[in-house]
C-alpha cells in the first residue's frame, strides 16, 4: 500500500491577479487517509478543484499513478479514478436519491449492467440509503444529504475521493457518523484527501496531514505528530502556546 497515487509538485494557481496557491507539493498514497488543514481562504478548496480539473494551474504538475492530470478534462480525470464530495454537499435536490447516485457514474452512464452492481455495492456501504432511494434528496436532512453526496462520489469506483468539509454544519452526533463512514470508505481501500475545519477531529483519525497557510504548505507530517506540534496547537487547536 505504499504506492504513490497522487503526486502534486510545486503547484501554482491564480484567479486572475489573485495568487491562491503558491508552490504546493503533496502526496497521497494508495489507500491513505490524508487531511488538508488551514484557515478560511487558505486555498484548500482550490487545491481540490485543481486536482479534479476545475481550475487550471499556472504552473506545477499533478500526477495520478504517474500520469499528468493537469491537461485533462473533468470527465477524463474522473475516469482515471478521482471523484469529489464538494463543499456544501451539492446533491441534486429535486432528484430522487437513486438518480443522484446514478449521476455519480455519469461518465460511465452506458455501462448499465455494471451500474447496477455499483449501486448495490454503494448501498452496502451506506445501508441507510437503501430505503430512501425514491426520496427527493432535497427533502433530506443535512447529514443524510452528506451521505448521498459521499455515496454519489463512490459510484465511479474511485481510487481517490476528495472531500471538502463533509462535516460542516452538522450536529455533533452526525459529525461522528459521517466521520465513521469516511473511515468505512477508507477501509475499502479508497484513498481520501479530506479538508476538515475541525483540526482536532481531522488529526485524530487521518494518517497524515498538511497545513496550508495563504497558499503555501507550512507543516506536514503524520497526523499524530501534528497533534503535538506547537504551531498547530496554537493556531489550529485553540490551545495557548506553552512556550
Amino acid at each position: 500500500m505504499d504506492q504513490v497515487l497522487l503526486q502534486i509538485n510545486d503547484l501554482h494557481v491564480a484567479y486572475g491577479e489573485l495568487r491562491v496557491l503558491q508552490g504546493v507539493s503533496l502526496q497521497v498514497k494508495a489507500g491513505e487517509l490524508v487531511s488538508l488543514l488551514g484557515g478560511n481562504g487558505s486555498g484548500k478548496s482550490t487545491t481540490q478543484k485543481t486536482i479534479l480539473g476545475f481550475v487550471r494551474p499556472t504552473s506545477g504538475q499533478i500526477l495520478f499513478e504517474g500520469e499528468r492530470l493537469d491537461t485533462l478534462s473533468i470527465p477524463e480525470i474522473i475516469r482515471k479514478g478521482i471523484t469529489m464530495v464538494p463543499e456544501g454537499r451539492r446533491v441534486f435536490p429535486f432528484m430522487a436519491v437513486r438518480e443522484n447516485l446514478l449521476l455519480g457514474a455519469w461518465v460511465r452512464r452506458n455501462e448499465r449492467a455494471e451500474l447496477k452492481h455499483d449501486l448495490e455495492r454503494v448501498l452496502e456501504l451506506f445501508p441507510i440509503l437503501r430505503t430512501r432511494l425514491n426520496q427527493l434528496a432535497g427533502s433530506m436532512s443535512g447529514g443524510e444529504q452528506q451521505i448521498v453526496a459521499m455515496a454519489r462520489a463512490l459510484m465511479m469506483r474511485p481510487k481517490l475521493v476528495l472531500m471538502d468539509e463533509p462535516t460542516m454544519g452538522l450536529a455533533p452526533k452526525l459529525v461522528d457518523e459521517v466521520l465513521e463512514l469516511i473511515q468505512t470508505v477508507n477501509r475499502n481501500g479508497i484513498a481520501v484527501l479530506l479538508v476538515e475545519q475541525n483540526a482536532r477531529t481531522a488529526l485524530g483519525f487521518t494518517d497524515r496531514a498538511y497545513v496550508l497557510e495563504r497558499g503555501r504548505l507550512v507543516i506536514e507530517g503524520p497526523s499524530k505528530d501534528l497533534l503535538t506540534n506547537e504551531r498547530v496547537r496554537s493556531a489550529y487547536l485553540g490551545e495557548l502556546s506553552q512556550a
Partner: protein
C-alpha cells in the same frame, strides 16, 4: 351555451400550441438563466421554413418534424457562437445579445422575404370539424394535438434520457453537474437547441392558421412571456397551464370584447399576475422544478 363551449374548446386548442411555444422559453431560462428575447423570431423562422417546405410540395404537418430539427440545429449553433461566452457575464449582456438576434432576424426576414404576408394553405386548410353544434377548424385541432405530442416528447426526453438527466441536473445545480463530469457547455447548447426547436415547431403548427411576415415574432414573444410569467419562470408544467389560460383568455376576450383586445388582454394579465403573484401560478421555483414535476 354552444358559443361558450365553442370558445372554450377553441381557447384550449390554441392554448396547447402556446404551451409548446412557451415550453421552449421556460426551458432555456430554467437551465441557462437566459431570457431569450428572440424567442418569437424563432417561431417566425419555423413559420417561414414551413412555408417554403410547403411550396416545395411538403404537407405542413409532415414538414413540422423537419422544422423542429432544423430549428434545433439553429439553436445549438446560435448558442455556441453567440451566447456561450456570455454565460458568465451580467444578465444585461445576455439581454442585449438576444435582443440583437431578434433585430437581425427581423431585418433578415424583411430583406429576404419582403414584408408581404405569406399563407400556408393546404387543400384541407378550410375544413371544419363538427361536434354537435360546435365547429372547429381542422388545422387548429391538428395543431393542438401535435403540440401536445411535442410537449409530451420533450418531457419524456428530459425524464427518460441521459441527456435529459444532465439537463435537469444542470438546472438544479450546475456546479454539482460539473463535479460528476457532466459537460455543462454541451448541456447549455442542447437545451437552447430544444428550446428553439419548440419555438420552430410551434411556428410550423401555427403556419397553416396564421400568416407569416417578418415581425410576426413580436406577438409570439409577447405571448410566451405572458405565459411564462403566468406559469412561473422556469416551470415546465407552468408553461402548459399558462398556455391554456392565455389561450382561453385570448379567445374569450376576442369574442366578448373585441378581436383587437388581444394585446391589451395580455398586458392586463401580465400586470395583474406581477402584482398579485409575481412568482406565477405555480410559484417561482424556477429551474428547480425541472427535476420535481416530471
Amino acid at each position: 351555451m354552444d358559443i361558450f363551449l365553442q370558445l372554450l374548446l377553441s381557447g384550449l386548442l390554441l392554448g396547447g400550441v402556446y404551451g409548446l411555444l412557451s415550453l421552449g422559453l421556460t426551458l432555456v431560462f430554467g437551465v441557462t438563466r437566459i431570457v431569450n428575447f428572440a424567442h418569437g423570431e424563432f417561431v417566425m423562422l419555423g413559420m417561414y421554413l414551413t412555408y417554403f417546405l410547403w411550396q416545395l410540395g411538403f404537407d405542413p404537418y409532415l414538414a413540422a418534424p423537419v422544422v423542429f430539427f432544423a430549428c434545433f440545429a439553429v439553436g445549438v449553433v446560435t448558442q455556441h457562437l453567440l451566447l456561450r461566452k456570455t454565460l458568465t457575464m451580467p444578465h444585461l449582456v445576455q439581454v442585449f445579445v438576444t435582443l440583437g438576434i431578434s433585430v437581425v432576424m427581423q431585418a433578415g426576414a424583411q430583406l429576404l422575404f419582403t414584408s408581404n404576408f405569406y399563407f400556408v394553405r393546404p387543400s384541407y386548410g378550410n375544413a371544419m370539424v363538427e361536434i354537435g353544434n360546435i365547429r372547429l377548424p381542422l388545422t387548429t385541432i391538428i395543431a393542438a394535438v401535435l403540440a401536445l405530442i411535442g410537449t409530451a416528447l420533450v418531457h419524456l426526453f428530459l425524464k427518460k434520457t441521459h441527456t435529459g438527466a444532465a439537463i435537469r441536473a444542470t438546472a438544479q445545480d450546475p456546479y454539482a453537474a460539473n463535479v460528476v463530469g457532466i459537460e455543462i457547455k454541451t448541456v447549455y447548447a442542447v437545451t437552447f437547441g430544444v428550446g428553439i426547436g419548440c419555438a420552430g415547431l410551434a411556428g410550423a403548427l401555427l403556419a397553416p392558421i396564421y400568416p407569416v411576415y417578418p415581425t410576426v415574432g413580436l406577438a409570439y414573444s409577447l405571448i410566451s412571456f405572458v405565459v411564462v410569467v403566468l406559469g412561473g419562470l422556469g416551470s415546465l408544467p407552468g408553461a402548459l397551464i399558462g398556455g391554456l389560460v392565455v389561450g382561453l383568455l385570448e379567445t374569450f376576450s376576442a369574442y366578448y370584447i373585441s378581436p383587437e383586445a388581444k394585446e391589451a388582454t395580455y398586458f392586463t394579465i401580465f400586470i395583474i399576475v406581477l402584482l398579485l403573484r409575481p412568482a406565477g401560478l405555480l410559484g417561482l421555483r424556477g429551474s428547480e422544478t425541472m427535476g420535481a414535476n416530471h
